[in-house]
């Protein structure tokens, strides 16, 4: 059974949107839950190390399934797997892009799952579920339970409260009112004890650490209101604030849940991205046997086998084979270098033309990668100095609320004639009315709306405050290779070759994975038949066509006379037919199609735009000139990039760093805020605050716009909260706020700020040009 979309697996009109953007392998667009097709094939890691035995004796495995994006995929995958003998259950989670399989037989080969799926066109990678998401999932559900309890309690108490309020102005007897109060207490007390825990715990933690956070006034308000209401009920008073206390919890839990949910969703998408890139190593045992193992289990002295197109899992020395190595993600250098026996190679680089056997010399911390990680960790301090808008507001808000409440209590006690009772009730009213809904509900709502809009356009926000920092940015620093450019060479058309030459070269080029050869084949619209070639790594390929030897490769390979001047600005590939003069093809790493537009738009937003590259000056200069950048730096090593960013930081610039390479990772971590395309090295994606998908740079502009708009909304919401408090607090201090007024004011202000937050999503999205 094939996995293609043509199969009429659903009964609705097949021409509906359902089968659009379906899942034939490789056809991937940007969108929620869709993962970018990496430029490389990644080996199917042996999943058996991730199989877990459950308590009931069955076995389970979690997998991330790439290119599972359409409705037909769900039954397709589940049915295909269920047909395998031994599988008891196969369940797809489409939202997260993950698959859960269980079986009973201990001998069931787990690789069969991945291989069956790959025959159907899905790529599945096993992952360690325990590590990935047990914790966040648990917290998410706890909040949702608390939210449900608070929602139930506030609805029912409000029902009783409305009766009491109308009873107070008509003819309700004291006995009935007390009865209603007690029923409210019966609902409210357990509900508050359960649903208030997230706030009480966080407040307690803060107080124990000698700090005050937003949860302190919330907890104090809720607890005091409950206590005062119970006392009111005992002395059969007119007013009880049970409804206000529970409603406050309900609103704030909504905000907390939005925040949590948003973070959980991004984290799971980010985790999928990284798990798909996780490198599995093929270890060659001394006995000659091959075995697959996770890269982190490699030890020095082991020999690993790396097929062309697979990432090298650890630093080592080549012991067998030779190949051209693409190190662009590590160094930013766009041209491949040759490696043969005894050449040292680095983790994360990519052999292009031949298989290698590598003796591992160092792992983890000792690798080049480890050193870059080290540099990155020490440089992340610049970020911690930024205080979030909500935190900054909370820092003034919490003490102000406490002082006002305490002042009200003391004022009524000293100046009033009613004793402690009206004093306490007024102080409680102040605490309730100053409910920080704008901070607790509106800011998460703004973030959730902004993040939803960004996710839909393929931008993944990894840190909640990334958006807020992005709104303040006044300078943008781009990496060159892979960021401003596509990171792959493209043929420069019409430079001294004929169409016949190009066709001939393309016949040879199809059989090799060298990036220049790939660029050559891309430039030919209708590909001719391939010929079998003989490949010499680091030099080129040769083939015999019509009894004539034809060579395609380096200048040396094609025996080009030295008199032909080399051009340091471009890469070259030569074609030589026996008996003819060599023909030259020139290549250059081309900028992304919308790069000039994006630079212009950034300048219009008042930004200073720079390029900071590890590549040669000759490669960077023409690009910087073409895009009219404000400044350029070339041949920068990872630590030079870092010092450059720190220098900008010291000048008071708030820098957005956009980069993709391993060598950019420290700079990404050090920048005020950072973005990285999803084709980037996984370490860079980890370091970046924001990851964007697709071939275009336009998401950078879009994200900055959304960031600025959402910051605007947050400020408006805080302003609204202040205005509301200016009116409400004096009333509460004066003792005029009854439970009815408190309830109306509280829900009114919450609705206003949430609607203001939602406004962010209403505006028309400006499409990329």
């Amino acid at each position: 059974m094939s996995a293609t979309a043509q199969q009429p697996a659903y009964t609705l009109g097949a021409e509906t949107a359902l089968n659009m953007g379906c899942c034939p392998p490789g056809q991937l667009a940007s969108g929620v839950g869709r993962l970018p097709a990496g430029p490389l094939s990644i080996p199917n890691a042996d999943p058996s190390s991730y199989v877990r035995r459950k308590a009931d004796g069955t076995f389970e495995l979690f997998l991330i399934v790439e290119n599972m994006t359409c409705p037909a995929c769900v039954p397709d995958i589940e049915n295909t797997l269920s047909k395998l003998a031994g599988i008891t259950q196969a369940r797809v989670n489409l939202t997260l892009g993950r698959l859960h399989v269980t079986w009973r037989d201990a001998d069931f080969p787990a690789e069969l799952i991945a291989s069956t799926l790959s025959r159907s066109g899905y790529r599945a990678i096993a992952y360690d579920a325990a590590m990935l998401d047990r914790l966040e999932d648990h917290r998410d559900r706890r909040l949702l339970r608390a939210l449900a309890v608070a929602g139930f309690a506030s609805a029912n108490i409000m029902l009783l409260s409305v009766s009491i309020w109308s009873g107070n102005v008509t003819d309700m007897g004291t006995a009935t009112r007390d009865f209603f109060h007690w029923i409210s207490a019966l609902i409210a007390l357990p509900a508050i004890a359960y649903a208030g825990q997230p706030f009480f715990m966080s407040a307690w933690e803060a107080l124990r650490g000698g700090r005050v956070n937003m949860d302190v006034p919330i907890s104090l308000g809720v607890l005091l209101a409950t206590l005062a209401s119970v006392m009111e009920s005992i002395r059969s008073g007119t007013h009880a604030y049970f409804d206000a206390a529970v409603m406050l919890l309900f609103f704030l839990l909504i905000g907390r849940y939005l925040e949590q949910n948003m973070r959980g969703r991004t984290r799971s998408v980010a985790a999928n991205l990284l798990a798909l890139k996780a490198v599995a190593a093929t270890v060659l045992e001394p006995t000659g046997e091959r075995r697959s193992c996770p890269a982190e289990q490699l030890r020095p002295g082991m020999t690993v086998f790396v097929a062309p197109g697979d990432r090298i899992p650890a630093d080592g020395i080549v012991t067998q084979g030779s190949s051209d190595i693409d190190a662009s993600l590590v160094t930013g250098e766009s041209l491949p270098v040759a490696a043969t026996i005894n050449t040292p190679v680095y983790a994360g680089t990519l052999p292009l033309t031949g298989a290698l056997e590598i003796s591992v010399t160092s792992t983890d911390q000792d690798t080049l990668l480890g050193q870059i990680v080290e540099l990155m960790n020490t440089s992340a301090s610049a970020k911690s100095s930024h205080a979030l808008l909500a935190d900054r507001a909370a820092r003034y808000y919490a003490p102000a609320v406490h002082i006002l409440a305490a002042g009200t209590f003391l004022g009524w006690l000293l100046l009033g004639s009613g004793g402690w009772h009206p004093a306490l009730m007024s102080a409680v009213a102040v605490l309730i009315i100053t409910c920080p809904c704008a901070l607790g509900l509106a800011i998460p709502a703004v973030q959730a709306v902004a993040m939803g809009a960004l996710l839909r356009s393929g931008v993944l926000l990894k840190s909640g405050d990334g958006l807020e920092r992005l709104a303040n940015v006044d300078a943008v620093v781009f990496d060159k290779t892979g960021t401003l450019t596509l990171g792959r060479p493209e043929l420069i058309a019409g430079t001294g070759y004929t169409d016949a030459d190009l066709m001939l070269a393309a016949r040879l080029a199809q059989s090799t994975r060298h990036p220049l050869a790939a660029a050559l084949t891309r430039a030919v619209p209708a590909l001719p038949h391939a010929v079998p070639v003989h490949e010499t790594a680091g030099y080129g390929v040769s083939a015999v066509i019509d009894g004539q030897v034809v060579k395609l490769g380096s200048r040396l390979w094609c025996e080009v006379p030295d008199t032909t001047a080399a051009d340091s600005d471009t890469s070259e590939l030569w074609l030589r037919k026996h008996g003819y003069a060599p023909v030259r093809f020139s290549f250059r790493d081309q900028p992304r199609a919308d790069a000039p537009l994006v630079i212009a738009a950034l300048k219009k937003l008042g930004m200073r735009v720079e390029v900071l590259s590890g590549d040669r000056i000759a490669a960077v200069t023409p690009l910087a000139r073409m895009l009219a950048l404000d400044a350029m730096t070339a041949e920068a090593r990872p630590d030079t990039k870092l010092t450059h960013l720190q220098a900008l930081h010291d000048q008071g610039q708030k820098v957005l760093m956009v980069g993709d390479g391993l060598n950019d990772a420290p700079a990404l971590a050090a920048a005020y805020v950072s973005m990285s395309p999803s084709s980037a090295a996984d370490i860079s994606q980890t370091a970046a605050d924001i990851v964007f998908r697709g071939e275009n740079l336009w998401p950078v502009i879009q994200t900055i716009r959304i960031a600025r708009a959402s910051k605007q909304r947050m400020i408006e919401n805080i302003a609204l909260a202040i205005i509301y408090n200016i009116f409400a607090v004096p009333m509460a201090m004066a003792g005029w706020v009854t439970p009815l007024i408190a309830a109306v004011a509280m829900s009114g202000s919450s609705i206003i700020v949430v609607v203001n937050a939602l406004r962010l999503g209403w505006g028309k999205q400006e499409a990329a040009p």
Binding site: A9, L18, P71, E78
Partner: protein, 50 residues
């Protein structure tokens, strides 16, 4: 007004029933893949193996 003595517990009981149903759904992972569930409803063949 004595009818309230019966009505209130009945109303509360019904509310609690709803809450219990929600918590039950939550416990049985009903809210974890809203997107997939929406599409499952459209397919003819029941995924077997459950």
């Amino acid at each position: 007004m004595t009818v309230l003595i019966y009505l209130l517990p009945v109303a509360l009981f019904l509310g609690l029933l709803g809450l219990a149903a929600f918590l039950w759904c939550l416990k049985h992972h009903q809210y974890e893949d809203l997107q997939g569930a929406a599409y499952r409803a459209l397919t003819d063949d029941e995924p077997d193996g459950n």
